[in-house]
């Protein structure tokens, strides 16, 4: 077993990463040690990266122990680069973390300065090569065997590489891979090769943030925070003619953790009042711990904002229709946010004659797509002669997700049941209509899904309760199937209850 990490005291006493545990214990008998939790470290680093969103929207984890922050255009918010680094150091210190900071024009140089440079090193504009020259080769993010090779060649400082002609450098290395690695990393650090960070979150379209000098611990203060942020965001959205459809509200806690709420809306939104209503339901889910001092509201997805997105209800007056639509969209958002997008649904027709596949139900939040697939026969006022029979037999008002088996007594072949028992209760059938034969779809049969032919009956019992029942399979089919395949359960077809009429 080897040491994975050591603290400052241990380092002072001569321990280092990579040392054998037994050696270390021999040197320091009183050494305290614990197994490394790589997974835990990674999660904590991710959490810390979220927390660093306060400095810039572009944050990424760098290896196992670093964070990369793209501070382009952010430093002035903190009063300059030095002030920004000083602020970061003190804020990390409050979390109980010692942060080694470095800032430069390139990812490679910043990483080198942070890990091997002086405290809070900043490479001045155009002075990257100078700033790096005194740093050890390890700062170039090279593999251990490449480092070893460089050491053998007597190259220990980055600056030694500058003076050397590139061709000469290439000749010195035996291995082409090592040569390429060194030159590539050097070029990256000096900005001759582009390198970009891979941010934790894609850039939000719009973002507003606010810091508080006192940590906010009371959930009841959140609406005020949100109001302030959404007012900022609204002015940006209005300027660009946009509205947000995906929103995230983050609270950066004083303990380095982040509490976040995300939600979607049916229509683009930018009104403070609307956002306040949507988030209000969810604030109680936020865990502020010992308090949060920094808040970010972002519109992660924005689309052009239009006053009304098509009409739900065709209004003859027209005037109030868009107001109605907005109110309806607001209602859908509110219900979906509080009870879950899956809870509120709309139905659309499907092109299938098998009853359970003739409809599909989708979250109402996706309602816009729904409107295209309209129901073929509109139940608008029937003005034609009313006495013609409906084109197909009636369908039930409620359909069971899974047909329930019923026990049928007094069966007439190919006829409706006379008596049946459903959920232990016997029913005597007085009237029946049917059968309506619904055959399985042949293309499903081809896919190896076996379904039986169903004969549906609309029946009514003595009390006037109306049900939709079906018989699965035909008598002769079953006999044939049994003759061909002995394992097929022969005998009388089974009956199922599938739906309820008014």
């Amino acid at each position: 077993m080897r040491l994975h990490a050591v603290d400052e005291t241990a380092a002072r006493l001569g321990l280092a990463r990579g040392m054998m545990l037994t050696d270390a214990k021999a040197r320091l008998p009183g050494l305290l040690h614990a197994p490394a939790d790589m997974e835990g470290d990674r999660t904590a680093l991710q959490g810390l990266a979220e927390w660093c969103l306060r400095y810039s929207p572009f944050v990424a984890a760098d290896g196992e122990d670093g964070l990369l922050i793209d501070a382009t255009g952010c430093a002035h918010l903190f009063g300059g680069e030095e002030a920004m680094l000083a602020r970061m150091e003190s804020q990390f210190a409050k979390l109980g973390l010692k942060a080694y900071l470095g800032m430069a024009q390139t990812v490679g140089a910043a990483s080198a300065l942070a890990r091997f440079g002086p405290p809070r090193a900043i490479a001045p504009q155009g002075g990257v090569s100078e700033a790096l020259s005194a740093l050890p080769m390890a700062a170039l993010r090279l593999e251990p065997q490449v480092l070893l090779l460089l050491q053998r060649l007597g190259l220990t400082k980055i600056g030694q590489l500058y003076a050397m002609p590139r061709l000469a450098l290439a000749r010195r290395f035996r291995s082409r891979v090592a040569e390429e690695a060194v030159l590539f990393r050097l070029d990256q650090a000096l900005g001759r090769q582009p390198e970009s960070l891979n941010p934790l979150h894609p850039a939000p379209s719009f973002r507003a943030h606010a810091g508080y000098s006192e940590p906010v611990q009371d959930l009841s203060f959140l609406p005020e925070v949100l109001r302030r942020l959404s007012a900022d965001l609204k002015s940006m959205l209005v300027r660009e003619g946009q509205g947000g459809t995906r929103w995230t509200f983050r609270a950066l806690r004083v303990d380095g953790q982040v509490a976040a709420l995300s939600l979607r809306t049916a229509q683009p939104v930018r009104e403070e009042a609307h956002l306040a209503r949507l988030f209000k339901e969810r604030f109680e889910q936020m865990d502020l711990g010992l308090g949060a001092e920094y808040f970010i509201l972002s519109a992660d997805e924005a689309v052009p904002f239009t006053q009304s997105q098509g009409s739900w209800a065709e209004s003859e007056e027209g005037g109030s229709a868009s107001g109605q639509d907005e109110a309806l969209a607001g209602l859908i958002d509110r219900l979906s946010v509080r009870l879950g997008a899956e809870a509120l649904r709309l139905q659309g027709p499907c092109d299938s004659h098998v009853p359970e596949r003739a409809v599909h139900s989708r979250p109402a939040l996706e309602g816009a797509a729904m409107k295209e697939a309209a129901w073929s026969s509109s139940p608008s006022l029937p003005s034609a002669p009313l006495r013609s029979p409906p084109p197909r037999p009636l369908r039930p008002l409620r359909l069971l997700t899974k047909p329930e088996p019923i026990e049928v007594m007094a069966e007439v072949p190919d006829g409706p049941p006379m008596h049946f028992r459903w959920r232990h209760v016997p029913h005597q059938v007085t009237r029946a209509e049917g059968p309506e034969r619904i055959a399985p779809e042949w293309w499903r049969l081809q896919d190896g899904i076996f379904e039986e032919v169903r004969d549906y009956f609309r029946i009514e019992d003595v009390r006037g309760r109306r049900y939709w029942v079906f018989r699965a399979g035909l008598y002769q089919d079953r006999a044939q199937a049994r003759a061909q395949d002995r394992t097929f359960p022969g005998g009388a077809p089974s009956w199922f209850l599938h739906g309820f009429f008014a």
Binding site: S315, L331, P390, R398, L399, T401, A502
Partner: protein, 275 residues
């Protein structure tokens, strides 16, 4: 100086509070106000009573729940017709997940048959009765619906009172389907007990079930008629209720024996009496 300003601001605050109390007190009787005595014809027709703005309850025994739901849907269809011209015909139907497990989900083609457009029916599957009630309240407040229908188990007096006030305030009907076993007091305007009834005659096939019928018992109606019981029929084609026969020994208002009314004009009329 500071004492003085504090004094004035306090008196201003008191004045504001007094005013808002006065407003509340003033508006409360308006909300509580009993509807004016209904015309005789309307009072005898449950279908008209339950389309009034306010909270209405439908109760049924467990086995008859499907009938109550069917009746509620027919009612939605009637309401949809009533409101269609004003461009407001979206409904909310809130139920618990367990209701869906037990009795299935509302089925689009069937709704269409009953005269309710599925694309205008938002269906909500909530985890608890509490969520159902919350959703109904939000639905009433939003002012975007033509009506809200809920199925809930536990509804206390407070909850029904809240719904009732909201429905009255927003001039919208709200219907609650409740199991019969729950006998809590309620602030509903109307309470109907629904039982299924053998269906009407079908012209094409006498052995087949005909138009849906229910036995509707008016158990309670604020400022309405005394309790009575009628059999009502739903006409699938014209999408309106007919009253079949007076079962209670109560004289119905004389209804002219006309053929079906011109569609879209008079939405609901007591029609053919076959008693």
């Amino acid at each position: 100086m500071s004492g003085e300003t504090r004094g004035t601001s306090r008196s201003a605050l008191m004045a504001r509070l007094r005013q808002s109390i006065a407003e509340i007190e003033q508006s409360a009787p308006v909300l509580e106000e009993a509807p004016a005595a209904l015309p005789r014809e309307e009072a005898a027709d449950p279908a008209r009573l339950i389309l009034r703005p306010g909270l209405h309850e439908l109760t049924a025994s467990y086995e008859d729940m499907s009938a109550a739901r069917g009746f509620a849907l027919a009612m939605l269809a009637a309401r949809q017709r009533q409101r269609q011209r004003r461009g407001q015909a979206v409904f909310l139907w809130a139920m618990r997940l367990e209701d869906r497990r037990e009795f299935g989900a509302p089925y689009g083609p069937g709704l269409l048959d009953a005269g309710v457009s599925p694309e205008r029916l938002l269906t909500l599957y909530a985890r608890s009765s509490l969520d159902v009630l919350w959703a109904l309240e939000e639905g009433l407040k939003a002012g975007a619906l033509a009506g809200a229908l809920g199925e809930a188990g536990d509804v206390g007096l407070t909850e029904s009172r809240r719904l009732s006030l909201l429905a009255a305030e927003h001039r919208m009907p709200c219907w609650l389907i409740r199991p019969l076993e729950r006998k809590e007091a309620s602030a509903a305007l109307t309470r109907l007990r629904i039982r299924p009834a053998p269906s009407g005659r079908q012209v094409h096939d006498p052995a087949a079930p005909g138009a849906a019928r229910w036995q509707v018992e008016l158990e309670k109606a604020k400022a309405g008629p005394m309790p009575f019981r009628v059999t009502m029929e739903w006409d699938h084609e014209t999408h309106c209720f007919h009253m079949v026969a007076p079962l209670a020994d109560r004289a119905l208002p004389a209804a002219p024996k006309t053929e079906s009314p011109p569609a879209g004009e008079a939405a609901i009329l007591p029609l053919a009496r076959t008693g």
